[in-house]
């Protein structure tokens, strides 16, 4: 639950900050043009944060699943389908 709220806050910040920056930014006059590098790479870093957050969750889940449900785990117990022999 905390994870979901936390991620929501991070996302909201990631969305709001660039918009604030745009509104406050200088216009197009000589010497004050926007730097396309900053905009594009900034977007890239924001999306990377999202991708790696989701990636950590998904890979962590896969690792946990593999370790917890492998047949050699001491806590492993037969599934309810093994009794009938068909799944």
């Amino acid at each position: 639950m905390k994870l979901i709220i936390g991620s929501g806050v991070v996302l909201a910040l990631l969305a709001i900050l660039p918009s604030i920056q745009y509104v406050l930014a200088a216009g197009d006059s000589t010497g004050e043009y926007l730097d396309r590098r900053v905009e594009i790479w900034g977007l890239f870093y924001r999306l990377m944060i999202v991708a790696f957050t989701v990636g950590t969750v998904v890979s962590g889940l896969i690792v946990w699943l593999v370790l917890r449900f492998r047949e050699s785990n001491p806590k492993a117990k037969p599934t309810s389908y093994e009794a009938s022999g068909s799944w």
Partner: protein
């Protein structure tokens, strides 16, 4: 492999999957909105951007400034000014790329594509071709030279 099927396909609650799909869709909307916004910002060409005509051909780049000055392989620009590139090709498709300034636009024969930027750091930056164009595609390079002319 037989499936136990009666009425509802899986016979168990599927709400976690709906929450998961909801989260995925929310993230995708975020990505889409951000990308749309940034693209909108960077595509707005300043009115006083100076025009530079860029022509790619197998296997070199040529440039023409507003005042008619032509350059081959090297492009001299002034720091702090805005420039609009009109990119085309003489023969096959190339792609004009100044990676250090994230400038990238295909050079297509029979067509003029536009991209703009404003160099804010002086120095020398590589220009490369980013669309396969044959024998010397790998070495179809140039140099952007940004000079600080004061003021």
């Amino acid at each position: 492999m037989r499936h136990q099927v009666r009425g509802k396909m899986s016979g168990h609650s599927t709400w976690p999957e709906w929450v998961y799909v909801g989260v995925v869709v929310a993230l995708l909307c975020y990505v889409g909105a951000e990308a749309w916004n940034i693209e909108r910002i960077i595509e707005h060409v300043p009115e006083d951007a100076k025009l530079i005509k860029v022509q790619g051909q197998q296997w070199l780049w040529t440039f023409e400034h507003e005042d008619g000055t032509k350059e081959i392989g090297e492009l001299h620009l002034e720091k702090g000014k805005a420039y609009k590139f009109e990119v085309t090709s003489k023969d096959v498709i190339h792609s004009f790329n100044i990676h250090d300034y994230t400038v990238l636009m295909d050079a297509v024969p029979g067509r003029i594509n536009t991209v703009w930027f404003s160099p804010n750091v002086e120095g020398e930056f590589p220009i490369q071709c980013r669309e396969y164009c044959g024998l010397i595609h790998y070495n179809m390079r140039g140099t952007l030279i940004v000079e600080d002319k004061g003021a």
